[in-house]
């Protein structure tokens, strides 16, 4: 867990998606630090999280990860927190907020998908076979994962602004835990949880996103009562990496308009 910014500012909790860790947010965080209390954390199995905390049973569904989010909020005793979740973490945020809305002030969902697998009229974008194949390809990438991921750890001489403390853990993922997380991420169906959200919610959708494309973002927006949808000009699944300014502006605009609850 990493904290920065103003201790008395409104808390903004950034939660990374599958495949990476809290360093994903590094281009976004500085814009929040002057006025907000910024909280970053790694989900179990990612970055520098405590691997021994991982239990297959607890993390066999997203509820386990949501419980961790609530633990983070409890531990820091955060109130009125804006939870910014990327990808699967957007859904983890929904589950956490539905279980205990009292600590949340708002929800920002970056590239969310409540279900990746097509189902009847619902188009998640993938077939079950696609997901199975992806889980297999994870295996072959993790088979040589140290080779594939190690270069990421040594840093990049061309871009010294990537601080050493960031580079040494980026995308470091425990293969066994990642496999379970991938399964839980891509096979979950949280469509029914969306209408239960009572918080002010912003859905950030990229213009094109091969993982969670516009119809999926629009589905999320339609399903959450009173939510806002902002379609970014950015493409891809990680606008906070590819278009940090645009992403930051949209989130700041949203948080600025949130009232402080009693």
């Amino acid at each position: 867990m990493t904290e920065s910014g103003r201790v008395d500012g409104r808390p903004v909790v950034f939660s990374h998606g599958f495949g990476c860790d809290q360093n994903m947010w590094r281009s976004v965080v500085p814009a929040f630090e002057p006025d907000h209390r910024v909280v970053l954390f790694d989900h179990v199995g990612a970055g520098r999280s405590d691997l021994s905390a991982w239990r297959p049973a607890r993390y066999s569904s997203l509820a386990g990860y949501a419980a961790d989010v609530l633990d983070v909020l409890d531990e820091l005793d955060l109130r009125d927190a804006v939870f910014v979740g990327h990808s699967v973490s957007a859904m983890i945020g929904v589950l956490a907020a539905n279980r205990d809305p009292s600590r949340f002030g708002g929800l920002v969902m970056v590239g969310p998908s409540p279900r990746y697998v097509d189902d009847g009229d619902y188009r998640g974008g993938f077939t079950a076979a696609d997901i199975d194949e992806m889980l297999d390809s994870l295996d072959s990438n993790y088979l040589g994962w140290s080779a594939a991921m190690a270069p990421a750890i040594v840093g990049n001489p061309d871009r010294p602004e990537l601080g050493q403390e960031l580079t040494d853990s980026f995308c470091r993922t425990d293969p066994e835990i990642a496999r379970h997380f991938a399964r839980v991420t891509f096979l979950s169906d949280n469509r029914d949880d969306l209408p239960l959200v009572t918080l002010p919610t912003l859905v950030l959708q990229c213009r094109e996103d091969v993982i969670a494309d516009r119809p999926v973002g629009e589905f999320v927006h339609r399903s959450i009562p009173g939510s806002e949808l902002v379609v970014l000009n950015a493409t891809g699944h990680c606008p906070h990496l590819s278009a940090p300014e645009e992403t930051t502006a949209a989130i700041l605009d949203f948080t600025a308009r949130l009232g402080v609850r009693q």
Partner: protein
Amino acid sequence: MMCGADTQLDPDEPGDGEESAVGSAVVFSSLLEDSAEDLYDTAPCGYLSTLMDGEIAKVNGTLLGWLGYRREELVGARRFTDLLTAAGRLYHETHYAPLLRMHGEARELALDLVAADGRRLPALVTAVVKSSEDGQPLLVRVTVFDARERRSYERELLESKRKAERERERLQRLTSTLQRTLLPDALPDIDGVEVAAHYHAASSDQVGGDFYDLFPLGGDQWGFFLGDVCGKGPEAAVLTSLTRYALRAAAVHDADPSSVLTTLNTVLRQQRRPGAPRFCTVVFGVLEPDGDGFTVVLAGGGHPPALVIRATGEVDVLETPGGQLVGALPHPRFTGNSTRLDPGDVLVLYTDGLTEARRADGTMLEEEGLAEIAAGLAGQRAEAVVKSLVDVLTEWSGEPSDDTAVLAIGHPGAIHPEARC
């Protein structure tokens, strides 16, 4: 706007379109000066350059040939992710793209490319971001290696790894099942006595060689034993099973502890095979109510001595001096001893996994060290005594490295004084 703009984006990138002129008239010297353009286009690996959003800006002939596309079908018309399977796109977006953004490169990622006719090309992909002088990322250079053979090899490797993991799980299940059959399911309830036991097998793959049991002998008498067979694994399991049944059967016939051990010795000697020594160390005893306490008669066959932790705080070591290993000699000597358990006393039997545990400074606990610890446990009940001893062990060495068994038989004292005779 993207299409054909590569020369402006990056003057270093060799232009496409220019076919190199390697013909039949090529002389030796020109072979030494292989042209960069030709090398790019016909290199033994695929080359691809994309804009930061993934749009393909440039591709070499090798990759076009592998995928069966014409250049204009890709350049300015498709994104790199369009060449991937759905699974590959997921992997790309969750791993590859963030790595590229964060670190400017992503190496040796296993991805499947999809050819124009739907065929799949297992590939190893490495990508590097090309930035402008002021650090602005401009484009992504990608090399694609044909990884068909490597992938099928990896699949075999992965399958073997999974198979090995499954086999190991199976072995561990089998071992723990077998281990359970060699230990009592639950210790019997004996009026006025508290019993507790601990068993730790050092390896989850191998059956341990320690054993214990407590069982009725008829009348008010109870038989108990604890020991350690020579060896580990299947041989030890066979020997443990043989020893347990021999001890129980022998005790029914004649419960005198030394006679029981003599019978066991005969049984083990009959089962000897060259190269498979069949012997064990064991303490066998009989427990019998006696007034407001119990009499304990026992005999030791080459086993560390039992202890009695007295309610008073003293520790008696029940030496059985000269008692010999069971099964090793044709005419062994077994030595008896006896004591009384008064209210608050606890009898403790253990295997050498406990006394050979090492302190932080590397010295062994040994019998003397155990007796000292035991003295501090006076007044505790059997279960607490076992727990404390095991705690000491785990505190020192984490998981004990040797098999360890502890059996404690305690006289909890007169809870209902009127029940005493």
